[in-house]
Point group: C2
Chain length 358, copies 2
């Protein structure tokens, strides 16, 4: 029976890079003997245009009928005049995360050796590349905490949000981080602000308790402000960084940018039944949309994460990752990552090259 | 009549670098014809040891009787086993900020030309150095918002904090940012998370209103996650970054580390009556305390900020800043900033050199 995938390409470069990801998925399903069935649906700006909302009920229904969501990227200048809280990205992603209880966000930030020179950090800091996995809690914290509100008028008018965590929410994301670290370097750094926030004192306490179930993993704690500094000073010191929703938003973006490989980074948002949403770390890049020059690798690696985490097709996922490494070694590069002397290839040529490699 | 200064040297390298700052203050008071009267008091770890609390009433009384506070740095391994919320830094600084209503935190993050090579960013990104001023709201937001609490038990046990801003609080810090930008490049970037947080929607709205009073200043808005990325990608794009308490904590530390000149960065925390607390951006560096090798420049530049902001002695402040630049050009450098081929000088030799230059 075919695995069902909801394909939400979105705006900007979304549709272009998604086409390449589908090519690659088609190639691995033949090679590894499984079948995928794609259902396309609108999301983000295009959904606002076609259906009046960023996440229409029809799209949600497609997602519900699928085993996983392959997400492109959303937003662009056309919708920039909407109020911040109605921006396509926010209005599509937040309800999807909450609806499917996608509490576990995995954001790998790694330097690809062939691209180390693009890293914004000094070469002696980058060394032969670093590899950090940010594990971010995605369905609680200040993003969703109640109450939120606004009241009063004049100088006393005020607005507020509540940063709140329950023990069970901290436990489940902490376990994901410890488990993930076991497949890596067995080090978890929990990011908090326990010197100031009551909620983060609790966070630290619960993470320490969960750590007892993982005596083989080394746990340390760092304040968010220090974490942003240490990432810059020496990213090699981190293996898995465990964060709440807001701090994870910040740390994962900083770490992603520090790699210099933004067009290469995938992410996964999972619930406890292996259902997940998989998307590139970068944005919809409207400035280069439609030119056929966008880098599809982040989308292709997101598809690989989907195969691994939602469909259990580890071999197919590994084959895609290996193919990506191989084409980089062969200096097949899109414009954004082309090293000096390399003639950039198009989006579709990149997809073809990866397919050929598989 | 003499100006009164509360001198809170604190722990670690605090007392060593403070001694040099006092030397420099003594030199400028002679030269510029004003008098300073210092009152020393314990703060931080040493205050916990001597008085049982990080901010004893006697120290607070000294501060109250003074026109400004020159603060060293606090904390160290001796007090690390205290719970995070009782750490010397937190337990000294937060009550001081609140007590004196020090709502306006100025954190300059600039690359000193002579030290550009120490910047962790690639040389082509650093260029001839960048210069960002973080203006951080310091007495409200999630740091002080009520309610904070913890309740329940078992998996539902939970803890929370409230991120809250009043219109008047946003207005006064926004005005400080716009005014500061007028002495610089007239660009303010307000950092928020208006796509997710109700409080930050309000923040953005009020900042926009205040901007109308400053038509000559260019205002833009950026989400905190993007801000941490853009700082890495191209710090030159920023002039003044206006932040709430929590985001300012994060952004100012990231920006400070990106300069590579951590031992050189001062900060000011001001209220609306020119009273202020002035302290280095770096920490108490217990690993090098007592060796006479710490860099006193951050403390000396904090003293310069004190002269400028609390005592209105702009000329004396400028003289100190010029002296610091001059000695760097003469390659007089402590160990932390010594460029290749330079023999590092001691903490006190650095202080002497700056005094000689004045
Ligand atoms: C679009 C926005 C709501 C979202 C977030 O803050 O989580 C984005 O920044 C992300 O990190 O996926
Ligand atoms: C010590 C701590 C409470 C403090 C803060 O978070 O404000 C510190 O990190 C700072 O930035 O001055």
């Amino acid at each position: 029976m075919a695995h069902t995938i909801a394909v939400l390409a979105g705006d900007g470069i979304g549709p272009e890079v998604m086409a390449e990801a589908i090519k690659v998925l088609d190639a691995v399903q033949q090679k590894f003997g499984f079948a995928l069935e794609y259902t396309h649906a609108d999301v983000g700006g295009i959904a606002i245009d076609n259906h009046g909302e960023a996440l229409p009920a029809s799209t949600l229904a497609v997602c519900e009928a699928s085993e996983a969501i392959l997400f492109g990227s959303v937003g662009g200048p056309k919708w920039e005049s909407l109020p911040p809280a109605q921006q396509p990205e926010r209005a599509a992603l937040l309800p999807l995360r909450k609806h499917f209880d996608l509490f576990c966000n995995l954001r790998p930030a790694k330097v690809f050796k062939a691209l180390a020179a693009a890293c914004p950090l000094r070469a002696d800091i980058v060394g032969d590349g670093f590899d950090v996995l940010v594990v971010r809690e995605l369905t609680s914290g200040i993003y969703f905490g109640q109450p939120k509100g606004r009241e009063g008028s004049g100088p006393d008018e005020r607005a507020w949000d509540t940063k709140i965590y329950k023990r069970s929410e901290i436990e489940r994301i902490a376990r994901m981080a410890f488990e993930a670290s076991r497949l890596r370097r067995k080090k978890v750094t929990s990011v908090d602000k326990a010197n100031v926030l009551t909620c983060m004192v609790f966070w630290r306490e619960v993470v320490k308790e969960v750590a007892k179930e993982f005596p083989d993993v080394e746990l340390s704690h760092i304040y968010i402000d220090n974490a942003t500094m240490q990432l810059v000073r020496d990213p090699h010191q981190f293996d898995v960084m465990l964060c709440g929703n807001m701090f994870g938003d910040i740390i994962s973006d900083e770490a992603a940018m520090l790699t210099g490989s933004m067009g290469m980074l995938a992410s996964a948002s999972l619930n406890s039944s292996k259902f997940g949403l998989f998307e590139p770390a970068g944005g919809s890049a409207p400035d280069i949309a439609g030119q056929g020059i966008a880098n599809p690798i982040a989308q292709i690696l997101s598809a690989a994460m989907l195969l691994k985490y939602s469909l259990g097709q580890d071999q197919a996922a590994a084959a895609i990752e290996a193919a990506v490494s191989a084409i980089l070694d062969k200096k097949i590069m899109t414009r954004d990552i082309a090293t000096p002397g390399v003639t950039p290839v198009s989006t579709s040529a990149m997809g073809d090259a990866i397919v050929a490699e598989i």
